[in-house]
Symmetry: C2
Subunit: 132 residues, 2 copies
DNA sequence: GTTGACCTTCCATCAACCGGAAGCCTTAAC
DNA sequence: GTTAAGGCTTCCGGTTGATGGAAGGTCAAC
């Protein structure tokens, strides 16, 4: 099938699919006219990629997960390790954002937000604020 | 003062300071030998940028905040609007990550993580998992 | 005079694509 | 028969916010 159909079936834009081929994540057949020709296995692979990416795995992690997926000798511990690393990363990011949110919320709360120039947010950014 | 000192005083790497100049966020004087020559006002500006960036404002938002900072006629409402937009964005991002975390945590919990190939994480990515 | 630290500009690279240009292929309508 | 539309191809530049390196100029110390 052509790339447009593979795009529909996988939920990935054509450009992204070509990009994934570029970086070696799949290599579909070609028809006589030079068009990429996707099999159901290719589409399955693309959906695997789409799901992995949407869970926030990096492209390199996806590459690794794909190879584990096709490795019948794999140990589930290897897969779990990748997922756990991702989980730790997510927790770190959440903690960072929650901290930021606290600071910013505090500033926003204390800014009257009217036509006067006086503003604690700007004061904070300028270094003579109340936070710390 | 030279860029190295400005870097120390602002907490920004020299390369980043040059980059900020490139994109028009500041324009320090030059000495006869062509070296950048930073005033205390420049350093203040750099610290403003460092603080804004560390609160997660984009470079363009920083540009806007800087111009509001120097605008004595500014309305605090304008500053507040930028900060609130950033806050909404942070909340959106946190919600997204918390959702992801839930999914991933669920999968990790159900993976025994030993030497056997059987793995619900891979099953999920392959499309025959338990989530949904 | 030479070593070493610092400075300059310019360029390449990173992630993970996105969008556009120029051109070929196929099909259907007129 | 041709022409228009839509889909496909490759290639290239842009995005964000820097970061690191090469090649070379400057300056102070020894």
């Amino acid at each position: 099938m052509n790339i447009g159909i593979a795009s529909e079936k996988s939920g990935l834009p054509s450009n992204t699919i070509r990009y994934y081929e570029d970086i070696g994540l799949l290599s579909p057949a070609r028809t006589d006219n030079g068009y990429r020709d996707y099999s159901m296995a290719d589409v399955h692979r693309l959906r695997f990629l789409q799901r992995s990416r949407s869970l926030g795995f990096s492209v390199d992690e996806c590459r690794e997960l794909l190879s584990l997926y096709h490795d019948k000798e794999r140990e589930s511990a290897d897969v779990k390790a990748i997922a756990q690393a991702r989980l730790i990363e997510i927790d770190r990011k959440i903690a960072e954002l929650v901290g930021l949110r606290g600071l910013l919320h505090h500033l926003v709360e204390h800014c009257h937000g009217d036509e006067r120039p006086d503003c604690p947010i700007i004061d904070e950014l300028a270094g003579d604020g109340m936070v710390q």
